[in-house]
Symmetry: C2
């Protein structure tokens, strides 16, 4: 097989090839859509199952809203239609006839969810209403990249309604916090959370919170967002309830989502020249067992690997690679490419010594391990790998993260070598726009204040911002 | 709340109302599409999780194929396009422009899956290839009913490729068998499995296997199908592999699916005048705990129900209904409507006696149960309810199931009172067509042979068929 492009020279090209070679996805015949292959989909299923449990534990219920939305719904909230109109895929013919009103494939479901909310919310007793949906959505993007930006993608979208602004705000921040935990505790990706500037807000939100990862090339990736929606949504869809005093009020709404882009973030954060590295807690395969046959002892080895497989697969996600058309070397290459955290090799001498050789995909080390007590030992190794991956990414994040007072200084550096720049900002779009020639943007507004003035003018800066190039 | 329509008089009207009143679904503003509400979606999630585990255990892997399919793909297999063309929803505009080639929203994914199979299958070593996808599909149906027939619905679609016809055939039957087990062992629905007649086959299949439930009004409901596809699919999509002798061959293909229609089957099989009845093994809520407060002892009861809740929810799906705006009577009514299998009432005297009162949704009985050992006791009750539900449905199936030699006899009866008729058939469409005036159809061809001649002519009958009206 052809080698992967040099990751230290061209991460972007490396990414484009590794996605297909590791069999995570495949290009489809439909523009901008990918086929997510079993290995990629299993990663998504694992991420989904972790997050779904948290969504339910925090009091949300899953439901399902239609894929198709009447075109007129999209137009009810002025900023929303402005934001999404250029990206819509529109059904004009169905059942052999031209439709009276075209239907759009949901680019996001606020409009149809709020239409239903208006039916369900009558009294303060119906609030808070906390709904989530796992779904596919379609946005006709101009430039697409597998997982990072595709025409159809998969996500969860939470939609909630509350009696007070404070409660809605807490909800938006709570879910942002859940996302940050998912990224850090399961994907082993350190992230920076903050608020989007007005320019980068969700179409129709009063505030958008984001969490951004800094990829290995120093570019930022928006990994998910949580929105405090404008009151216009509740008003446009006539969502009204009687408060405790019997007065009609509009509730406060939030929405929040993460997508299959998280798979892209995993690849872009943890990969190396050999391929991708799966974070152990969500890895589709945590351990691969490879038998090393020598003439005359095939049966002994076969029995040993099968016993080991049935022992370990009770606790871990294990693959036993018994494909006899491939050499052990070819198998090592393939499973390293696919980023399986642990590789266990079992040869006749290992069987004799009641031990095995374990290869660590993160450190590259090979360690002998006694068969006795191996199930606990590999558990410890997987946990250590999670920490190692996180620390490694954290270190790189710190290397990329610089404090700079003025665009004159960091602009050219950012343009050339990417990187994340913490700086001051006056809050005005005119200054924000000055980042464009350097291909940067404000990724988020932080809580800190370490600069007195804006990166581009002499006006005061209230809070720091994080500036970077982005995917 | 208004009473449900009389189920013994008009099941159909009862069904239409109970679906909404029990908050399983709600009509949406999009023609033929429903919103599946949390209570309905939780049932689907439970069904999905049972079946998904079986699909994986039988060696299939989940993946994801695009929602949108180039229109030309649909036309490659002649019978396939003929079957689906009238039902297609078509995207003609996207990203603000008319598309050069329109895209159809998948009504089923054979065409795009086979296009990808052609890329993945090169050698006999790549076979069998066994893929499954959980997805939404759209078919522009003329008459829709919540869950039973909706424009958009949810399903899993399995797609496999094999080197031999026998192996493919085994696969199609294996998955049919898994479906039958799902229906009987989890949904408590007895079913009849068999082969579809040529008229009722999937568009482009050589053989379609089906499993049919007989609903409480004696009408049949096709609950899912498994297909042995025609070789045309493999040929049209140029799926070719080198066999062990190095010769290029087309593989044999299957596909199989069950949908959110299963929810409709559950409602139509187990409901009664009080509402739906959830089969205990997949019930979203298996047990509801209702505190009965008396003045002065509120605190004692509150503590007791909370303790009971935390005990039982470790093992079961439990809801504690502490809504103090509703009387216990109103709560009983609501949870009966929603079909929660067990209701546990806890009042001050129960707390004193260290016992509770348990209501059984299937039998309607109320039994006192000691708090000591209650977690095992309710487990036993839930299992008994599953059996009771299945037996009840089985008995009704037998009541509806008659053996009749000639259409002259059973035709008018079927037209008037529905029912399932096992009879002989010569295999010819002309005779099959004679069922139409009586609103019946051949639901499936059975393995038995208990009649010498056809129900409509004097020609020989090789195998029995099951004839019924259907949903």
């Amino acid at each position: 097989m052809k080698k992967l492009p040099d990751i230290s020279q061209d991460v972007s090209q490396w990414y484009n090839e590794v996605v297909y070679k590791a069999e995570l996805a495949e290009q489809s015949p439909v523009r901008g859509c990918i086929v997510i292959r079993p290995y990629g989909w299993a990663l998504w299923e694992n991420i989904k199952s972790v997050l779904d449990a948290r969504i339910k534990e925090t009091g949300h219920k899953n439901a399902s809203f239609p894929l198709l939305i009447p075109e007129s719904f999209m137009k009810r909230e002025a900023k929303h239609v402005e934001g999404f109109a250029p990206e819509l895929a529109i059904v004009t013919v169905a059942g052999g006839k031209e439709l009276e009103e075209p239907l759009v494939i949901r680019p996001t479901s606020e409009t149809i969810v709020h239409y239903m909310f208006a039916k369900w919310i009558k009294s303060w007793r119906d609030l808070p209403l906390k709904i989530n949906q796992w779904a596919n959505v379609v946005r006709w993007e101009m430039r697409t990249r597998p997982f990072l930006r595709t025409t159809e993608f998969f996500w969860q979208e939470g939609h909630t309604a509350h009696t007070s602004k404070e409660e809605a705000h807490e909800e938006a921040l709570l879910m942002l916090d859940e996302y940050v935990k998912l990224a850090q505790d399961y994907l082993a990706i350190p992230v920076i959370a903050g608020e989007k500037s007005a320019t980068e807000r969700f179409a129709g939100a009063d505030a958008t919170y984001t969490f951004e990862g800094i990829m290995m090339d120093g570019k930022a990736l928006q990994m998910g967002t949580s929105h405090m929606l404008s009151r216009n949504f509740a008003k446009s869809f006539e969502i009204e309830y009687q408060n405790k005093e019997g007065v009609l009020e509009n509730p406060y709404l939030t929405s929040w989502g993460v997508t299959t882009r998280l798979i892209g973030a995993v690849i872009m954060t943890h990969g190396d020249q050999k391929g991708i590295i799966m974070p152990p807690r969500v890895a589709p395969i945590q351990i691969v067992i490879i038998p090393i046959y020598r003439k005359g002892s095939e049966e002994v080895v076969r029995e040993a690997v099968q016993e080991l497989y049935s022992k370990l697969s009770k606790k871990y996600r294990v693959e036993l690679d018994e494909d006899d058309s491939k050499s052990p070397g070819a198998k090592f290459y393939e499973w390293e490419l696919k980023g399986v955290p642990l590789r266990i090799e079992v040869g006749p001498r290992d069987v004799e010594n009641k031990s095995v050789m374990v290869g660590n995909r993160v450190t590259g080390e090979k360690t002998p391990l006694e068969l006795d007590g191996i199930d606990a030992a590999v558990g410890g190794m997987l946990e250590a790998m999670h920490t190692e991956l996180f620390d490694r990414a954290q270190k790189r994040l710190k290397d990329h993260w610089k404090h700079e007072a003025k665009l004159d200084t960091f602009g050219p550096a950012m343009d050339k070598d990417a990187g994340a720049y913490q700086t001051g900002w006056c809050g005005e779009i005119a200054c924000e726009d000055k980042l464009k020639p350097f291909k940067g943007s404000i990724r988020c507004v932080l809580k800190n204040k370490s600069f007195d003035s804006c990166f581009a003018c002499d006006k005061n800066s209230e809070r720091d911002v994080l500036v970077a190039k982005s995917y």
